[in-house]
């Protein structure tokens, strides 16, 4: 039962003023700008955009500043912000084969058409704190090499050509479900699952992905390909009637190659899991691909034994805005609820006392 409380306005206003001052911190230190956050904390921005399910770098940077760097709070702000905007429609599906590659690696083939490029990665760094960064006069320069114009086709396509890889569903006419319009319901189709995972919490999906590797629904994965780069956004405005490119966004895509399936009619072939995020979100994209694959257990006639295979469990709990809302609401006033429980416990204790006394009297 919800019972409203009144009062506390002054304290609340003052708390928000204190929050603003605390957010700013020591005023003898320069204030951080939105542009600084967007440029120099870009992976925080990427995460807020992905889980906020809204691509807008400066909006995400503002949310991070407002949230004092609390990324889940920032994600909440971005989700709230999107509800104030009208929808213009749906883009054409992103053509990730045409991506301007900024990073592309494969753990399954060392020689790829188009090559492997490491790009700006933490991989192979020593993970030692760099004392140079304590100073603020860093102007590092990247090395250049002649650029190649070689095409960079998807690695899994190479296996598909040999028939060793299952083909992804190509029912391209179907109108995919949209969670921003239709609430989640079960059983969920793969399009719904992918949308839900794409906005899902990185930590939660990472833990579930890890659980599949540790044996809770093993899928024997290989990172077939991870690519990060820029893709064009294409959209057909109704009033123009032709397709327009509105600009480019950065995305990360991960395709996992998993162990075989086959049947009486189909020879054994690899299966696949898919992950995609806004910006550079490799850990999330990999986790998403592993969880996407685990959630296909029923479709691939695998035993349902682990949490990562349970779509109701995974999808109902992967949204950190919903999760934080429900967990954190516990700190709001529940005085009347608690009063009722208090009365109940007192009553139960009183009844128990009476019963015990009666039993004692009967024994005597």
């Amino acid at each position: 039962m919800f019972v409203a409380v009144k009062g506390g306005e002054k304290a609340i206003n003052n708390a928000h003023k204190l929050l603003a001052e605390t957010r700013r911190g020591d005023t003898s230190i320069p204030e951080i700008s939105i542009e600084q956050i967007e440029q120099q904390l870009s992976l925080s921005v990427d995460r807020v955009m992905s889980e906020g399910a809204l691509y807008d770098r400066l909006l995400a940077a503002t949310a991070i500043k407002q949230a004092r760097g609390d990324l889940i709070e920032a994600i909440f702000l971005v989700r709230a912000s999107r509800t104030t905007l009208t929808s213009f429609g749906y883009s054409q599906p992103l053509n990730t084969s045409e991506m301007q590659i900024l990073r592309r690696i494969s753990a399954t083939y060392k020689d790829l058409p188009g090559g492997q490029v490491l790009g700006p990665t933490f991989d192979y760094t020593h993970r030692l704190i760099d004392k140079n960064l304590e100073q603020t006069n860093n102007f590092p320069t990247a090395i250049k090499a002649p650029a190649s114009n070689e095409a960079t086709p998807h690695v899994l396509g190479l296996l598909s050509d040999e028939g060793l890889m299952e083909q992804p569903p190509t029912d391209t006419d179907a109108e995919p479900n949209d969670l921003t319009r239709e609430p989640l319901s079960f059983p969920a189709d793969r399009d719904t699952r992918l949308q839900s995972l794409a906005r899902g919490d990185e930590g939660f999906l990472l833990a579930l992905a890890y659980s599949t590797q540790r044996g809770y629904a093993r899928t024997h994965p290989f990172a077939g390909e991870i690519r990060f780069g820029k893709v064009a956004v294409e959209f057909t405005p109704e009033e123009l009637g032709f397709s327009l490119e509105l600009g480019e966004i950065q995305i990360t895509e991960c395709e996992m190659v998993n162990q075989f399936t086959g049947s009486k009619n189909t020879p054994p072939q690899f299966t696949r899991g898919y992950g995609i995020t806004f910006g550079q979100g490799e850990r999330k994209a990999m986790s998403m691909a592993l969880v996407d694959r685990a959630l296909r257990a029923e479709e691939l006639s695998e035993d349902l034994v682990a949490p990562a295979q349970d779509e109701e469990f995974v999808l109902s709990h992967c949204d950190n805005v919903q999760a934080t809302g429900f967990v954190e609401h516990l700190k709001l006033p529940h005085y009347v609820d608690f009063q009722a429980e208090l009365e109940l416990v007192r009553k139960m204790r009183a009844e128990q006392n009476v019963n015990q006394n009666q039993t004692r009297e009967a024994a005597e």
């Binding site: 909006l59 883009s91 090499a145 190649s148 009033e239 123009l240 509105l246 600009g247």
Partner: protein
């Protein structure tokens, strides 16, 4: 608003250049462009959302991956030529200027000079920027080789 029929691809090409342009560059070039026609705003810059679609397994059935902010604007010149713009992000001025330049480019008297003074420089800037990024990425090209372990 009148419904515009599908245009030639060169309009799509210049609209992409305008949408992708660095705002500061575009603003400067358009400011410096003398003798601009007067424009009236048909539809003031409006920011909304487009749901971005991706494909299952990169090439399969589409799904909705998340939204992006988009700003659109429409203008009409003195000579009744309509210009439109749709750009990623929330910069209303960028959308308005892009719509004005789109209208100017459809004007036969202005087309060539606008191509030369606005579109071509923006295109060059974009392709230089892209080339720089490609060169830096190319320097991180990796050639892994496998080592044979154990006795042969």
């Amino acid at each position: 608003m009148t419904h515009i029929k599908p245009e030639k691809t060169n309009r799509q090409n210049w609209m992409v250049v305008l949408a992708k342009a660095n705002w500061a560059d575009l603003a400067l070039l358009w400011d410096d462009f003398g003798n601009k026609p007067n424009y009236k705003i048909l539809r003031p810059a409006e920011t909304g959302l487009i749901m971005l679609r991706a494909r299952t397994g990169a090439v399969g059935a589409p799904f909705n991956m998340g939204e992006t902010t988009v700003t659109r604007s429409s203008v009409v010149s003195d000579s009744q030529i309509q210009g439109h713009a749709y750009i990623l992000g929330r910069n209303g001025l960028h959308a308005e200027v892009a719509a004005e330049v789109d209208a100017a480019l459809q004007d036969n008297n202005l087309h060539q000079v606008v191509m030369a003074r606005i579109i071509n420089p923006l295109k060059t800037a974009a392709s230089n920027k892209k080339h720089q990024a490609q060169q830096k990425t190319a320097a991180t090209k990796v050639d892994f080789f496998t080592l044979v372990r154990g006795e042969d």
